[in-house]
Structure formats: structure tokens, C-alpha cells
Amino acid sequence: MQRIQIIAIIVNILFLLYIARLIIKGKLREEYAIVWVICTVFLVIFSFWTEGLELLSRLTGVVLASNMVFTGFIFAILIYLLHLSVVASKLHNNNKKLAQEISLLKEQFDKYVSEHK
């Protein structure tokens, strides 16, 4: 086993453990963790099975195996960023609805209090 393989495997496993810890502590929701877990599992697999990477790049016609890794990951990151923008938009809408509802309720409450003094 090469030195770089060992480093990659250790880093990946530490990363997986950290994600698990975040989920357990309730700081990361499972649906957002899925992408990270899948990516890390892929990395772990290919750290052990380096011929697999060569095989895949030959199949897809990529000259350098490392280029395939970069392309794949940049694509995955872009998709994930888009997903985060969708999440932010949803939160924005929910936040707006809540704020409006609070202001309307506050007004009703004030009216009720002043009528029943």
C-alpha cells in the first residue's frame, strides 16, 4: 500500500466520524449529511482499490485518472451548492410567512388586551 493511500484512508475515516458526530449531536440533519457520507464512502473505496480508478477513467476515455476525480467532484459540489440555494429559498419563504403571521397576531393580541383591560 502506498503512503498516499494510507493518508487518504485515515483522513476519510476521520471525516466520516466527524459527520457521524455532528448527526448524533443534532447539529446536522440527516438529509444534508447523505451527500457527504456518499462522497466519503466513494473516496474510501477508491483509496483501497486504486486500479478501479484507472479502470473507470479508461472506460470513460479520460486520460488522467486524477482529472476524472476532479471533474466528478466539482460537478457534485456544484449540484450540492444549487441544492443549498434551494434550501435557502425555502427557508426565506417560511421565514417571511412566520414574520407576517407574528405581526398579525401581535396586532390581534394588542387589540384584545386593550379591549379587556
Binding site: N95, K96, A99, Q100, I102, S103, L104, E107
Partner: protein, 236 residues
Amino acid sequence: MPGKVLIVIPCYNEEASLPSVLDELHQTTLPGGYQMEVVVINDCSKDNTVAVARKHKATVLDLPVNLGIGGAVQTGIRYARDNDFDIAIQLDGDGQHPPKELDKLVGHHIESGANVVIGSRFLEKEGFQSSFLRRLGISYFHWVNRVMTGKHIYDSTSGFRLFDRAAIEIAAANYPDEYPEPESLVLFSKAGLKIAEVPVIMSARRGGQSSIRSFGSLYYCIKVSLAMFFSFIRKP
């Protein structure tokens, strides 16, 4: 039974101009025997807008976070829907929309039965006419609106507008947050509402700052054009 009109005043740091606007409103009577209630929506102002509005006998809706003009106006529209108002009229808190022009909007609504009536600066060249760049933008939106709604709307960025029950129902459910004026017209016209314009005389603002300042105007044009396009192709 006379109908009820809600005057919706979205405010962000308008303590300077709000008292005179509210005083004028309380002295105004509407045609058609309409009863008037004034609601001030405080969009998380940093000054004493709330206290000033309460002192001048307006209902206050106090937003806990800053939502922007669209979100604030929609809060007022929702108040109108929940409290069974016949008409809601948006009027800016900075004094650009003189309350004495209200009867033109209401009068035109009674006469024509239009669902949305816009107070327009440009039908007659009178009063405050805004800067050159702003007018350039406004004529651009006139063109975009003609393409998307098939109607001639000259002052599509005017915030001085009347909503009837049908329009209140639509805007309460779906109203854009940022720069809502041109985009909401696409929504209304897609819903088959009748949009009319009536000339009003506006004044220059009495205090505060415009939400659209020079460096953001390009962003404004791009954002609003995109939003209008997507409202146009979206299924109702």
C-alpha cells in the same frame, strides 16, 4: 352598507414624514361613503416609526424581521383579507403619495370596476417626475409589460395602487418580496384581473431614502426582468 378601505403604509425609518401623511389621511374623506382604516407596517425600522404611528392613531403591524417592501405590503394585504376589507390601497410613508389623490383612485375603481388601479405619474406631465435614469427604466418596464401583459401600463413601478377583493386574494397568496411593483402586474394580468391607470400628482419624498439607489439600479432591472419573465411562464 358602506364598504371598508384599508390604507396600507409600508414603512422603513419614516418617522420624519409619517406624521404629516397620517394627519392628512385622517382629514381625507373617500367617495362612495367608504370607511377608512389606516395600517402602518413597520418593516423593522431603526427609528421611532411605531411610536409615531401609534400616536397618530394608526393600526400598527410590527414585523420582527426586515422583509423588504413586498413582504411588508403583503402583510397589509393579508390584514385586509383577514379583516374583510373591500379595498386595500398602498400608499408610501415617505409622503410621495399625497392622500388627497386617494379619491381619484377610489373614484376610478367605482366608475370602471377595475380590480387594480395604479396612480400614475406619467399620464399627465404634472408634479414630481423622478430622475432621468429612473424614467428610462420606467419606459423599459412599460415595454416589458406590454410584451407580457399585452396592456399599456405607463407607470408600472408606481407603488400608489388600489387592490379590490379579487386582487387582495391573489396578492395575499403570492406577492414578490423585492421590487414587487412591475412583477405583480404580470401576476394580476395572468389571473385575468382588470388593471387601470389613473393620473395622480406625486410629490418628491419628504424624508428618508429611496429603496432603489443608483448603484443598485442595474441589479433592479435585471432582477425584475427575470422575475417578470418567470412569473409570465409559470402556470397560474
